[in-house]
Symmetry: C2
Subunit: 207 residues, 2 copies
Amino acid sequence: MSITVLLVDDHPVVRSGLRAVLSAHPSLTIVGEAATGEEALSLAQHLTPAVVLCDLRLGDGIDGIETTKQLRALDDAPIVLMLTTFDRDAEVIGAIEAGAAGYLLKDAEPESIAEAIERAARGEIVLSPEHATRVLHGVRNPPPKLTEREIDVLALLATGATNREIAKALFVTEATVKSHLSHLFTKLQVDTRSKAVHEARARGFID
Amino acid sequence: MSITVLLVDDHPVVRSGLRAVLSAHPSLTIVGEAATGEEALSLAQHLTPAVVLCDLRLGDGIDGIETTKQLRALDDAPIVLMLTTFDRDAEVIGAIEAGAAGYLLKDAEPESIAEAIERAARGEIVLSPEHATRVLHGVRNPPPKLTEREIDVLALLATGATNREIAKALFVTEATVKSHLSHLFTKLQVDTRSKAVHEARARGFID
DNA sequence: TTTCATCTCAGCCAAAAGGTTGAGACGGTC
DNA sequence: GACCGTCTCAACCTTTTGGCTGAGATGAAA
């Protein structure tokens, strides 16, 4: 009995590569490909694959995390494995929270990708030791929840904006910006704007 | 007469994808694959491919730019096409300066990748209109040359370090750090450390 | 030799950033 | 109604940053 797999990646070349690599395994059958999250959801409903291999970044439209959430909410919910180029703490944790059964790096060997799919299909959680550690750590030290306004400030901060510029852009006073910044610093455990940007980047809050 | 192509990418999946996509074109013949720059140089000498399709980032070892330089210095120098996920000004210009005949984004359609190889093999320069514009712009506005010490400071700056921390790390006084920063600001045409980091990132000086 | 770039450092001053405390308004929740 | 989180703002103060000018040491290049 072959495991049915749906590939989701916005890069045609990567899809072809995965298809080439995985079709060498008789235990896997690729039943479809999607380039966007929307397409993935539509195809998953029609094809009811056992496993969806989904890129975290999907160009336009909904992202991999959101796609995963919606896939897992389907009636015949497939097992979802996230595939990505980089590994960021916040994203790994986000993927697991969204219902993904695992998180794979694209530079993995073809063998280990196939093996991961098989293990996931058997109901196992597939994480590298480092990822597993970080997910557990993330559960113990949950990432701080930033408010909408704080994220607004953070986004502008990352562009190098001064408090005055941020204030003007958000239609508030500098005092308000400083207040948000103070909270951000506390939540991110830093004491300068530059460190805040660095930390936020490391944690995956910004790109 | 088929165009011989050598694939260079550190991701096995991407190599398989390119092979699958390009082997559909009878005018192209893939004669080899390499996962590192060193391997690429060795194979290029033995296989003398007409075109080398080379990823810009190659994990460990020498990077795509350096690989390109060395490939172009060979006796039977192949035409080099850079393949990359992101497009950064400094990298596009760097690739062209290193002797690459073009710069392709990985999310390109398979058709356009094959077409680009054919055009490059005919001696054309393959750049998207936006890239061409930016390369020309880069020639008119050459990117500022940063000194070693300035890059040291920049690297620490990007981690959110204060002047005092940078000074301590580099075994100089804060005055010296401020001096380097002043020069950096002038060269990057910014006026705050945060903007400097943002600008340096945008220009590809740091990741 | 002279010139030039680089790296180093100093002092001065104004502007920006950061810490602290406190507080009003609003909406949702218990 | 009381409580809490969020967003908003203010005053006060210290530290950090950035602009400016100037300058000594070194080494490479013209």
